[in-house]
């Protein structure tokens, strides 16, 4: 088979000592920047772009790609251990990862995250190898009405994340939408919700909201509860047991599939796919009430989805020149600076380069695993550091992280405000996760709706006459009903078990 021989040629390039080093460097740098809040792969790749012109195209792109998927993994470390999701895509991981870390099982959680990332990342690359051009064309069938339907489906997740009160969850969701609309309007270019405050015209950045609602209010909470260290009690074991890996393989696989297929759609970022993977896992689970309190599957699924999405994002990028996320857009810039333009002609004109990069992604995923498994012990020990030291460190990192978004103090200010808001929301049990999810979905929801309406000249029929859109909408309806039924059932089951009403998801 031709593809296979091309791939083998790619391996012969990717396995040269220099290129292995490049993949290793990339994975290492990526893991590090992924761990630092605020500072994501986007800015790192941008900073390192000029380096690639010195290194030569293949070496440079191998390193940049390594940073990209390395950071996807690195983000999970701080999300699990410190409840600081560096990116929105790591929020679902923190929902169960942080409770696990508190129980002293941070090590196994990191191990499962690493293995899940590896499995799904490899699945993604295999998909990339064999189906790239075919899948790219399928992804293009998604026009605005289909995206609108998809966003509608993602909305049903809010119902599941709402916790005890559906009304409160929905209000928080709408509030998230409202926040996401601040700044220049997406389709008409009008300034919205700025009320004459100049920095607001550029909009609110979600990372500062995440840092405020999670990291800052978490420190306050920890202080209030007089926490001695993050993990209470002894750390039982550092690595996941084989049994745990086997139990979670299903979750990894499902998460990987969700991440891979949705990740093909340009604009459907890891922030969306991880939430959907988490939700799916909760729906198929026999014990949905355990989610949010330290369920390993709640770590495995979104982590797998995260890495599968980052691999499958390469398909529209390489085959059509369409970047599905801002990070990939910067990576695209890296291609261009080296005189390579992704698009239909890339596979023909520079096949050696393309296959070397693809092969290096296999190598890089192995590197990540080899690199991170031994480090887990070290990271897990972080949770035993006294909170009196951890707290200030988290706050300073949050501050710097928020500053680094746009190098402006305004984003820091926003983070602090949301720290205060988050504190009170927690007290009065208003769930913050729907707010974040809606914030992420908001822009896509609005764009796809307005574009569809412009296409159909104001007729809603456009959503029901296109087969893909109709199918997704029906699916959304089914999932919505399932969610409501499940919520009732879970509530009564928890009531039976505990004897009183308790919060299901915080």
């Amino acid at each position: 088979m031709e593809t296979l021989s091309l791939l083998l040629d790619g391996f012969s390039v990717a396995l040269s000592p220099t290129n292995i080093m490049m993949a290793l460097w990339g994975a290492l740098i990526g893991t590090l920047v992924g761990m630092l809040p605020g500072l994501g792969p986007t800015s790192t790749i941008a900073i390192l772009l000029p380096v690639t012109t010195v290194l030569g195209p293949t070496e440079g792109i191998i390193m940049l790609a390594g940073i990209y998927y390395g950071s996807m993994y690195g983000g999970s470390t701080t999300a699990i251990l410190l409840n600081i999701p560096g990116e929105v895509s790591a929020v679902p991981t923190s929902l169960d990862g942080y409770p696990l870390a508190k129980q002293g099982r941070g090590g196994p959680a990191l191990g499962i995250a690493a293995i899940g990332s590896f499995v799904a990342g490899t699945m993604g690359v295999i998909g990339l190898v064999f189906f790239a051009p075919l899948l790219a064309d399928q992804a293009l069938k998604f026009g605005s009405p289909e995206y609108f339907a998809l966003m509608f489906l993602a909305l049903t997740v809010i119902v599941n994340l709402a916790g005890a009160s559906l009304i409160k969850g929905l209000i928080m969701g709408l509030f998230g939408y409202l926040l996401s609309m601040t700044g220049i309007g997406l389709t008409g270019g009008q300034v919205r919700f700025s009320f004459g405050i100049e920095p607001l015209e550029a909009g609110i950045d979600i990372i500062s909201v995440v840092i405020g609602l999670f990291a800052i209010s978490e420190v306050i909470k920890g202080m209030e509860e007089n926490t001695k260290s993050i993990a209470v009690g002894k750390i039982t074991n550092i690595y996941p047991k084989f049994k745990e890996i086997r139990e979670n393989s299903g979750a990894m696989f499902r998460g990987g599939l969700v991440g891979f297929f949705l990740g093909l759609l340009p604009g459907c970022s890891a922030a969306v796919t991880t939430f959907l993977a988490y939700d799916l896992e909760k729906k198929v689970s026999k014990n949905p009430e355990r989610f949010g309190h330290g369920e390993m599957k709640g770590v495995a699924a979104p982590e797998a989805a995260n890495n599968a999405t980052s691999s499958s994002g390469f398909i529209p990028l390489l085959a059509l020149g369409i970047p599905s996320s801002t990070t990939l857009a910067v990576l695209l810039a890296g291609f261009m600076l080296n005189g390579l333009t992704p698009g239909p002609t890339l596979f023909e004109e520079h096949s050696e380069f393309v296959w070397a990069v693809i092969a290096s992604m296999f190598v890089g995923n192995v590197m990540l695993l080899v690199l991170n498994l031994p480090l887990i012990g070290l990271w897990a020990k972080l949770t035993k550091i006294p909170y009196g030291i951890m707290g200030p460190v988290i706050l300073i990192l949050s501050f710097v992280g928020a500053y680094s978004i746009n190098n402006s103090l305004f984003d820091v200010f926003v983070a602090i405000i949301f720290g205060v808001i988050g504190y009170f929301l927690q007290k009065y049990r208003w769930p913050v996760v729907p707010l974040l999810l809606a914030f992420v979905l908001g822009p896509m929801f609005e764009k796809s709706f307005i574009q569809s309406m412009a296409m159909s000249k104001g007729s809603f029929a456009i959503f029901f006459t296109r087969p893909i859109s109709l199918t997704i909408l029906l699916l959304a309806l089914v999932l919505f009903v399932v969610s409501i039924v499940m919520m009732k059932r879970t509530k009564s089951r928890v009531k039976d078990a505990v004897g009183s009403d308790v919060e299901i998801t915080e």
Binding site: T53, G185, P266, P342, P344, Q451
Partner: protein, 353 residues
């Protein structure tokens, strides 16, 4: 002067600083009295690293060109040029950021053409009027693009259909002031045509929608369309220019089919390096020289070619005239379509004849 020199040492780390201050102390106490004579003879520039602001997102056209030329120019200048993206609000955020910095040439603006319409669209008070054009790198072309299987084979096909079904042809556009909005306005004005405008938030999503055949036609920069055009996924009906594009010899210039468009041309996106206009003359000269020299770099020229950007490499008065002409076309076009919030007249922008 002295303070800045010292500060750059500080940056190297505490050890350096310690050594430096010790040297300083010993120099003073030895009583040699080396007064600061001769320090102001030859003004030095640059004395520290230069911050290059791209007011758009990383990975965009402006960002790419900026990074490519900055890597070469820093060798000429002898200090690093660090490119930072400050995106937001059509580039007004980053532009204002540079405006708020000192006019000492250590903060540069790498911008596309957008500030030319800040005034009429009432987006910001800080536009190119406040800056001096160090180097205009080049200009891009707009391309009228359809899906590979589209029924429109030529511009004439498209125009006939638009006139037969006014308001039915789905045209993907970016907001007022954007490339497709402007060119659509030109066509509508000279040909009396009406499209169904479907708004997108960037050229990337427009190309995606074109490839998926969700819109009938759009106007994007040639850089965005060229790779898919070569790969046969989209068809370029015409380039918006009075000459054909070198990269696509089979595609006609729009003036061949719509001669009335000539009055708006040449017009299109352009990319430049700017410094605050209050900067001292010797700074402007050093920068002009460095960037002019840098633009000869082969890798950089290759990138421009790859992006289908026509190299210009002009500066000073010539560049000033160029952007003011572009501004006049854009501003009056927006005024004529009713999108302008402030009349170009009140902003003293003359109508180009």
């Amino acid at each position: 002067m002295f303070k800045q020199k010292k500060s750059s040492l500080w940056k190297k780390g505490a050890a350096f600083c310690l050594v430096a201050s010790m040297l300083l102390v010993s120099a003073c106490s030895s009583g040699q009295g080396q007064s600061s004579q001769g320090q102001s003879e030859q003004p030095q520039y640059p004395t520290r690293q230069i911050e290059g602001i791209v007011p758009f997102g990383a990975g965009g056209g402006t960002d790419l060109v900026a990074r490519a030329i900055a890597t070469v120019a820093e060798k000429q200048l002898g200090q690093p040029v660090n490119i930072t993206n400050k995106p937001g609000a059509t580039g007004t955020v980053g532009t204002k950021y540079v405006y708020d910095k000192d006019a000492d040439g250590h903060t540069l603006l790498f911008s596309a053409e957008n500030p030319t319409v800040y005034g009429v669209l009432k987006l910001s008070e800080r536009s190119f009027e406040e800056f001096y054009p160090v180097h205009i790198m080049g200009r891009g072309l707009a391309a009228i693009t359809v899906h590979e299987n589209s029924k429109y084979k030529t511009m004439t096909d498209l125009m006939n259909d638009v006139k037969a079904n006014p308001g039915d042809i789905k045209m993907g556009t970016t907001g007022p002031g954007g490339l497709s909005y402007m060119v659509t306005a030109m066509i509508s004005q000279s040909e009396n045509a009406e499209f169904n405008m479907v708004p997108y938030d960037g050229e990337g999503p427009i190309v995606t929608a074109l490839l998926g055949n969700h819109i009938d036609v759009s106007i994007v920069s040639l850089s965005k369309a060229i790779e898919n055009a070569k790969g046969g996924k989209v068809r370029v009906l015409a380039v918006v220019n009075n000459e054909k594009a070198e990269e696509l010899p089979d595609v006609p210039a729009i003036t061949e089919e719509l001669p009335d468009m000539a009055k708006f041309l040449p017009w299109g996106p352009f990319y430049g390096v700017w410094v605050k206009k209050e900067a001292p003359d010797h700074v402007k000269q050093s920068l002009e020289k460095a960037f002019a020299e840098a633009s000869k770099d082969a890798d950089y020229q290759a990138l421009l070619k790859n992006l289908a950007i026509i190299p210009m490499g002009i500066s000073g008065a010539e560049a000033e005239k160029f952007w003011r002409d572009q501004q006049s076309i854009s501003a009056w076009l927006l005024q004529d379509t009713g999108a302008a919030k402030v009349s170009p007249e009140t902003l003293n922008i003359p109508r180009k004849q």
